[in-house]
């Protein structure tokens, strides 16, 4: 998995997750949002909305089940940005 610090998107995703996370734990790429970081289902949706605001993308409903870890959130944002960049 791409280390989160490797690109700006990863670093920004990390920033958003840290801002919303209420547990004093290290946030890393394989951190599970619910089990490790204590997000409940509503907070997970709040995170998705925050990522949309941060990156100016819309996460389609069908992609949401794929976002279980911080790394997967970053991967989702990267692919949405790539899709938007395409003509």
């Amino acid at each position: 998995m791409t280390p989160l610090e490797a690109d700006q998107v990863g670093r920004d995703v990390l920033g958003v997750v840290r801002r919303l996370c209420r547990r004093p734990v290290d946030v890393v790429a394989h951190s599970k949002l619910q089990a490790d970081l204590g997000f409940d289902s509503l907070q997970t949706l709040e995170l998705v909305a925050a990522l949309e605001d941060e990156f100016g993308v819309t996460v389609p409903l069908e992609r949401m089940p794929q976002i279980q870890t911080v790394g997967e959130a970053a991967a989702c944002v990267r692919s949405l940005l790539a899709e938007n960049a395409r003509p």
Partner: protein, 592 residues
Amino acid sequence: MSPVTLPEALAAAAGGGGGYEFLDERGEPASSLPFSRLLDEALAVAGGLRDAGLQPGETVALIVPEPRDFLTTFLGASCAGLVPAPLYPPVRLDQFEAYLRQTMPAVTISRAAAVVTTTPLRRVLGAFQSNVPTVRSVVAIEKLAGTPLDEVAPVGLDDPVFLQFTSGSTSDPKGVVLTHRNLAANVTAIAGPDGLRLEAADRGVSWLPLFHDMGLIGMALTVLYAGTWTEFLSPLAFLKRPAVWLKAITRTRGTISFAPNFAYDLCTRRVTPREMAELDLSRWRVAGCGAEPVRAETLAQFAKKFADAGFRAEAFLPCYGMAEHTLAVTFPPLWREPRVDVVDAGQLSTAHRAVTPVNGQSMRAELVSCGRPFPGHEVRVADSKGHQLPERHVGQILLKGPSVFRGYLNRDDLTRGALAGGWLHSGDLGYLADGELYICGRVKDTIIVNGRNYYPQDLEQAAGDVADVRRGRAVAFGTQAGGGREQIVVVVEPAQAPAADDLADRVRGRIAEATGVLVDEVVVVPTGSIPKTTSGKLQRSRVKQRYEAGVLHHPRDVTSRVRLVGHVMRTQLVYARAHAAKMLKGWKGKGR
């Protein structure tokens, strides 16, 4: 106006101007279904169900996630003279075994002749056919083909209209049987002169799931009988971005919208100043609040925050209802600020009386009035022997009238208890003051220690005052599991893990300070250990069961947290997946 059956109401609505509109994730219109077209689609579904071998009077279990499909199938079944039993769709397609296990008892007790579902779900729901003797087929709605019925099936007002499986135990489900007469009585009361006074110019806006009574009866069927419009928004879209709900009200000039207490809290907390700038809530004349206890503080904070967007506190309609009473029981007068009764908390628990606090020292409780019963309906407060109590005395709320259900399906034992003496025993505690109803808690949740009654809500609210306790995640109950006198136990989830060492002590201290109750044990459990019911009420009995079984701390015991939220999300995710699968199939098809 004499009551009409649901199919008759649909046929009548088809000649008028109302309908359903479905909004996309951003709250923009995606598709529109005027009642005239809805009738055509329902008659086509009805013809398909008949051709699939289903006979009038038989029950069909409905497992249909998408709102538009759900409504046409539900009404199609009704037009065919069938009795639909809506069930929550599965959690995830890859966990269908657990879903089948959980849903099997409801399908079994409903004695359904068929399970009606979507093509993607049909593949995993086939097991119903081999495991439930009454189920002759599992039917996919996309595959329904047949001659549309010419007209709706004749049904009697006292025939069952649909079955509602209320929240609670999945292993021992209770199917609430409602008749056409019940439904007509309740929705016409909701829409009528002592209710919402619905007019053609009204617009409903709803993000509530249709598998929930407030969403189905309150927002979908009421407007069908009244012939007005409702906008449906995905529950998931609301939960992701609460402002979408308020934007939809703004854009569609919505006048009527209902939601549980938590939804108003969520908006107060999550709507940003930038989102606020786009809102105009000045046309919102009924902001209904029900399905879980209504908190004065929630309403006050919401009204304060959204005043700049044109929201008026007079729009709030805190109400009381239950599935066994079809839906609504009491409404306050329209366009009145919520009436808040400030009473002495000690007197409420010790003397079961709602009295004005005598001085500044006594603990206060703030209760929100849920209003009065509808014409032709009666509400009474009674003691444990069934004797009527005077005003401001707390007792069980009993109900009578045309909205009271016929009984629990195939459970005469439960029905006899619920309808003893000709009154529906709500199981809720409350009192009347100036003819208006105030809800204090549930009968079976009441904690009795040394002859004193305690309402768990009070202890939970006090526990919630401690900053390190996770919002809404405190459960109080009484237990005699250890033998001897009843022990008061409070279970909390920390706002962040690991919990502070002194959290239990601070919770105990705050509860003593606020209510005068000394709690015997405070248990701090991992995040996600405390489940809720579909209507958002804390499932005290389940937490208590786990506590008594000694499994409360077990980390694998984590099931659902907010069941309404959870179900909504899962349901929508399944829908999204099914949609994705459909799109993918279309794409493959094109490629060939």
